[in-house]
């Protein structure tokens, strides 16, 4: 007589022996992730660094240590040259042909936003896009990467207007989504203090000469001038300022601009410039995670200099790997999301402890720096943007 218990046991054993529904991008031996990125066009250097020397650096470390639950990570990247329609095509190819498990660190607001609807509809996780516009908020399958512009702005304005009591602000901003999102955020945050921008001049990417814009801003006599640019035009603006001897304004760089590249380009014209730094100094910081990053870079890509782009990619790889690890061997997109959402005080050794809330934002902080003798000197602790 077969007891009900043994029947149930038989049923349970049979069911567990059935193959689980195959999760795309996850096989017995490998885990496939990828993304569309800029390998040509205006942001090609950044694209290269965040992927091949960023995510892939961390992936090498993980794979050499045995992978995640016995699976090696494989990455696939396609070039979109910063063109939204190419990003859409590449992303479709990655999801439908290459069958990636998740999209990781695509770059630029236009290419990323172009793919948002498709990825949400197809329930594909979009992990840590390398862009700062808040337009990617509010999507179930998106985990934010870089500190978004409205948070950056809040920290910067609270510090400058709130703590240092500065009243007159101006902005030199790039004529694209990055520049525009910061400009909008600045105006909103200044309004909280009853202030307005006294001047705002736009600059086109790839511009040859910024003398007119800088001259106009000088005429407005701001105490602080925000630079919402990329390293090239940012350095041009600083050299222009030096050329006209405009000393009575403090130039402040936004998060994406605060990096060693514009320092190298601007040379001594960058002395005294302040800004919000999103990362510890990748070359000199002795935080344990940053030191490890440098060791790994030295081991796998000795000819590549450590920089903030590759550390951002490395960090993205780290978060993904941790999420996949926590999700366990039976990895699905849903379990990955749940795992990432479960981060509470995660210690990366690079940034302050990460807690991911329902806002899905993984980076919400920055600290103040000033350029002294060609390097960023930390002036404050990590600022809060809540």
């Amino acid at each position: 007589m077969i007891s009900r218990a043994s029947l149930l046991l038989l049923l349970a054993v049979t069911l567990s022996a059935l193959p689980a529904a195959a999760q795309q991008g996850v096989s017995d031996t490998e885990l496939v992730i990828g993304g569309s990125n800029s390998f040509s066009g205006p942001l090609a250097f950044t694209g290269d660094q965040i992927t091949k020397f960023g995510v892939d650096l961390y992936v090498r470390v993980i794979n050499d240590a045995g992978g995640i639950h016995g699976r090696k990570i494989r990455t696939v990247y396609y070039d979109d040259g910063y063109r939204p329609q190419d990003a859409v095509a590449n992303t479709k190819k990655l999801v439908e042909q290459d069958k990636v498990f998740a999209i990781i660190i695509p770059q630029g607001s236009p290419p990323v936003v172009a793919t948002l609807d498709y990825l949400e509809e197809n329930k594909v996780p979009l992990l840590f896009p390398y862009q700062s516009s808040p337009v990617t908020r509010g999507k179930r399958y998106v985990l934010q990467g870089m500190t978004l512009s409205d948070r950056s702005s809040k920290m910067m304005i609270d510090y400058l207007a709130g703590q240092r009591k500065i009243k007159k602000f101006a902005a030199l901003y790039q004529d694209d989504e990055y520049g525009k999102s910061f400009l909008t955020a600045f105006e909103k945050d200044l309004a909280r203090f009853g202030l307005k921008l006294v001047g705002a001049e736009s600059v086109k990417r790839g511009v040859m000469d910024v003398s007119a814009q800088v001259a106009k801003l000088q005429a407005a006599k701001p105490e602080v001038t925000f630079l919402v640019l990329v390293p090239g035009p940012g350095a041009q603006a600083l050299k222009e300022r030096q050329k006209i001897g405009w000393t009575d304004t403090l130039m402040v760089s936004t998060g994406p601009l605060t990096d060693e590249r514009y320092l190298a380009l601007a040379g001594d014209a960058a002395e005294g410039v302040e800004g919000l730094s999103l990362w510890p100094d990748p070359v000199t910081s002795d935080l344990p995670g940053v030191k490890l990053y440098r060791e790994h870079m030295q081991r796998y890509f000795p000819k590549n200099e450590p920089n903030r782009y590759s550390i951002a990619g490395y960090f993205a790889g780290m978060l993904f790997a941790e999420g996949a690890k926590r999700a366990g061997r039976a990895l699905t997109r849903e379990s990955l999301l749940a795992a990432l959402e479960s981060f509470k005080g995660f210690e990366s050794g690079i940034l302050p402890p990460i807690t991911v809330g329902p806002d899905h934002e993984t980076q919400k902080q920055g600290f103040w720096v000033r350029v002294e003798k060609g390097r960023f000197k930390q002036l404050t602790d990590w600022l809060k943007s809540e």
Binding site: A44, M208, K216, P231, Q242, G245
Partner: protein, 292 residues
């Protein structure tokens, strides 16, 4: 807007304009001799400047060595490209050659990215960035230096075309290829020479402007402005290239100074379209009257 600031902005515009003029001149030199529009002109400039920079870094030599190496690299590049690629296509239509030069520009830019990465690098200048103040006038030496060096080069080119045999041969080929050949001029030599000279002019422009816009694989995009300048001034005319370049540079700088943000970026193009509608041959050009 103070007068001092205005003078500075205009002088800065003339400096950028000088570079546009040099780019326009190199495009026109090749076009006049071979009836080809060289899409790769900017990328050739970029590669030459990179080579000069690499030599300067490796040899720890004075800056003038960078210039010399860039010029030699440019001459070599111009010669090789013309001989190996363009010469073989010369029987094809000029549209075909256009695509060939387009392909070359893509290849050169990508090759630069692979060799030096797509990063941007600071480039040393012969001139200082600190302002010179003389009474009400304040200018940056670097702007004056660029204008001066460009003008010197233009004068040298003018002399080349006027007083040397090669120059006269090039002008003859530009006017009428068949007649020039009948007169015993080696048209092939003129082709090579035009590519070499144009390339060298580009290298000088590159070394002058790299301190301002930084050395990178996308530096070559300045050639688009060169094309605009050449058309504005009257394509085919040397003085036209100079006038067009200077005018474009100053316009690009004055527009953001006085015009609202919404149209300031379009102004150079709108002005150019207007000038072309009124004078279809550009400012100093003549519309060729074709004999039936």
């Amino acid at each position: 807007m103070t007068g001092q600031a205005l003078v500075h902005v205009v002088v800065s515009g003339l400096a950028t304009g000088s570079i546009y003029a040099l780019m326009a001149i190199s495009l026109v030199i090749i076009y006049n001799a071979t009836r080809t529009l060289n899409f790769a002109q900017g990328e050739m400039l970029m590669i030459s400047t990179f080579v000069g920079w690499t030599a300067w870094q490796v040899l720890h030599a004075p800056l003038v060595v960078a210039l010399a190496v860039a010029v030699v690299a440019a001459a070599l590049l111009g010669f090789v490209l013309e001989r190996v690629v363009i010469r073989h296509a010369i029987s094809a239509t000029h549209f075909d050659v256009l695509i060939i030069t387009l392909g070359l520009s893509l290849m050169l830019r990508s090759a630069a990215g692979v060799t030096w990465t797509h990063d941007e690098f600071p480039f040393p200048s012969f001139f200082s960035n600190r302002p010179l103040v003389a009474g009400p006038i304040r200018v940056a030496p670097i702007s004056l230096g660029i204008i001066g060096a460009s003008l010197a080069l233009m004068v040298a080119l003018g002399a080349l075309f006027r007083w040397t045999r090669l120059g006269r041969a090039m002008r003859a080929v530009a006017q009428n290829q068949r007649a020039a050949r009948l007169m015993g001029i080696s048209v092939e030599r003129v082709y090579s020479s035009s590519w070499i000279i144009a390339s060298v002019v580009g290298a000088v422009a590159g070394v002058l402007i790299a301190p301002v816009i930084f050395l990178s694989s996308k530096m070559g995009l300045v050639a688009i402005n060169g094309f605009t300048a050449a058309v504005l001034g009257g394509f085919g005319s040397m003085p036209g290239a100079v006038v067009g370049g200077m005018l474009l540079g100053v316009l690009e700088n004055l527009a953001p100074l006085y015009l609202p943000a919404s149209i300031k970026h379009s102004v150079p193009f709108l002005v150019m379209i207007t000038i072309l509608i009124v004078r279809p041959g550009g400012l100093l050009g003549r519309v060729a009257r074709r004999k039936v």
